[in-house]
Symmetry: C3
Subunit: 304 residues, 3 copies
Amino acid sequence: MLDYCVIKGEVGAAIKAGRPVVALESTVISHGLPYPANIEAAKAMEATVRANGAVPATIAILDGRIRVGLEAEDFERLAAGGIRKVSRRDLPLVLAAGGDGATTVAATMIGARLAGIAVFATGGIGGVHRGAETTLDISADLEELARTDVAVVCAGAKAILDLPKTLEYLETRGVPVVGYGTDNFPAFYTAQCNLPVDSRCDSADDVARVLRAKWQLGLTGGVLIAVPIPEEAALDAEATEQAIRLAVAEAEGQGVRGKELTPFLLARLEQLTEGASLVANRALLLNNAGVAAQIAVAYATLRQ
Amino acid sequence: MLDYCVIKGEVGAAIKAGRPVVALESTVISHGLPYPANIEAAKAMEATVRANGAVPATIAILDGRIRVGLEAEDFERLAAGGIRKVSRRDLPLVLAAGGDGATTVAATMIGARLAGIAVFATGGIGGVHRGAETTLDISADLEELARTDVAVVCAGAKAILDLPKTLEYLETRGVPVVGYGTDNFPAFYTAQCNLPVDSRCDSADDVARVLRAKWQLGLTGGVLIAVPIPEEAALDAEATEQAIRLAVAEAEGQGVRGKELTPFLLARLEQLTEGASLVANRALLLNNAGVAAQIAVAYATLRQ
Amino acid sequence: MLDYCVIKGEVGAAIKAGRPVVALESTVISHGLPYPANIEAAKAMEATVRANGAVPATIAILDGRIRVGLEAEDFERLAAGGIRKVSRRDLPLVLAAGGDGATTVAATMIGARLAGIAVFATGGIGGVHRGAETTLDISADLEELARTDVAVVCAGAKAILDLPKTLEYLETRGVPVVGYGTDNFPAFYTAQCNLPVDSRCDSADDVARVLRAKWQLGLTGGVLIAVPIPEEAALDAEATEQAIRLAVAEAEGQGVRGKELTPFLLARLEQLTEGASLVANRALLLNNAGVAAQIAVAYATLRQ
Ligand SMILES: [Mn+2]
Ligand SMILES: [Mn+2]
Ligand SMILES: [Mn+2]
């Protein structure tokens, strides 16, 4: 394990002392946002985690090692373009080849778990793609949530996905979906869809108690904490859905598939909303980072 | 673990001594049968387990704890209505909130496994819902069978489901399906459908040997023991299928979905069959409890 | 475990000493090829493994025991016809009944893992069947790849399957798909399809490094090593696809399903190609056995 995973000093010390740590992913840097908004957002997320009392640990693969906690120059390198997107299946391939990679939700959960970090903030998880009944295109993030003991704080699943099917998949695989201050599953750019969550929690302490119950019982797997985008940052629901449908149709028409699909849709959406999707994305990322830090603090307190 | 799980004295003593114990679920009490037939059936199942030489342990969640083995007053409480149906994903949510819950097949398997109980009797498992190719509505019971070491004795999957797809799912996930005295998978209210099981066992000893082989080899997961409803209690196959199709169509028309679907269909079926489905349900529940006890006795003997 | 699994002396000694061993399956003998081509191919595979510096261990079930490494007379017995095809779900059933069985990719992986063998050569894995969106017919081999730490060397998935869906399923479940000397997933009888693999490896050493990275990190599950059929042995792509479509249509028309489907399609394909599919199958089996042995040698060296 030691050969393939390097934990930054500050992060390792916090984990060892039982102090709160929040994992952050790197796909948002390499594939989720354009340069230089990506670096700025990544650093703002780390600052938000600190402002809420926890230590940030952005996770990526550099030179064939999982790096838990990055240095300033690492962000530049990940933002430079041409970085491979790394999910569970890609991890051993990139590590064995000594390469670099940006970690998806699934791969970041793996890195967090290896390091002993219980809480992770991201924008939105991957899920069941629209049309998956004929393509079987379902993100490995969902399986990771079923098997790896990490709480994932997000604004729901990426809105380009099929949300009802994503929730059904999570139910089948036994993953609790908690609404943070909401009874309905948030829809990423907008605060609400009509799909209920499994339970509502109104505080970080409530969430921490869920984590303790799950893992103390040995119920393997993650918990999804779905936090609505702040109201002032939310996009118009109908216009967003129309833009998504257009982007999905274009992807189909151009034969965009597999790991290219999500970056294509996000970029197209930014154009169609004239940048508004980008502003919303940044807002929800910072919001999630803050909530995740509060949950990490509450969970660390509970475990003492 | 101890904080969240309480084992009744009689049950714990039997488990510790290696004597046969049979787990029973509580969703049948809170959501499967109407009051007061639900309490009567639950107590009759416990009596049948005892009459066949094993200790019954009905499992439910009360006051934020998994209770393995109930007291008389607990049955009343579970039958009173308004109890949450708890599957794997709900477990940590209800435990953390200190609430009550009726355990599905999946959650009962988890409780049984935590306590060290190898055999569990229920009516019918959840499975792949009709129309799942477009909804992805697939019960968490199937995944639980793939991951948790408990033998589940049932009369097949609930007949409201898509049985061929349910069996395909179990095959993909590596779950053995044993026909108890039958070569075909039983269809809950009726003794037969045209779908073959993986193997036939004609005695409790045969089943016990399957359990020993599976778990001694470390082949994680459950075994499904499918017992046909006693012939004298079986409903007419064609009339039942017609009633199910009508109920499924009504559910679709009224937009009944998710965890409301199964209770809706069972209640509607009772009306459509003028109560006959209820009588059949009770008969198969008692039959399964008896067979499960015999298997528990045989397995306890084999392990000595 | 010892009761149900017997390791041949030569094989056990090699495993204990850390010398390279390659597992081989027995379904190819009992169900994959006609007599006597099946025995000849099985023995030729063992010889090829030896010629490349590793010890072969063909796995089957005989008299209720998993046998890791067979004697000459065992091959005759498996080739005689009427042998049950055994996947994960069937294993405990056949062991408990004291029966014989030919192990599929899934069951052979289980046997290899129990014995401590890391590399396994086969023809093609099972996968998502054509039409699975309505049948849910998906091979247990895919789930086994997700959960069991064995490298499976093959010529891709059996060509009778839906290859794009098979790759999507593997991605969702986090299974690395390595192209051995190729950027595209091989299509069994033909060297190429238009579907990319996750990574290309051009040597056995490269593959060995992937295996070390995966398992040293505790990333549970297998790795699929896809090796194109040797060019001189490959069939014509278009004619093969036509023959497969005809065979699939005939299977549907005749209601051939479940575990009968694959043997039916392979036999029909042999007729439609006037034996050419059989010659190609033998060629790829030997090629895979040789590559697997080289990988086993490289991995054994790396672990020293
Ligand atoms: Mn995908
Ligand atoms: Mn459901
Ligand atoms: Mn199948």
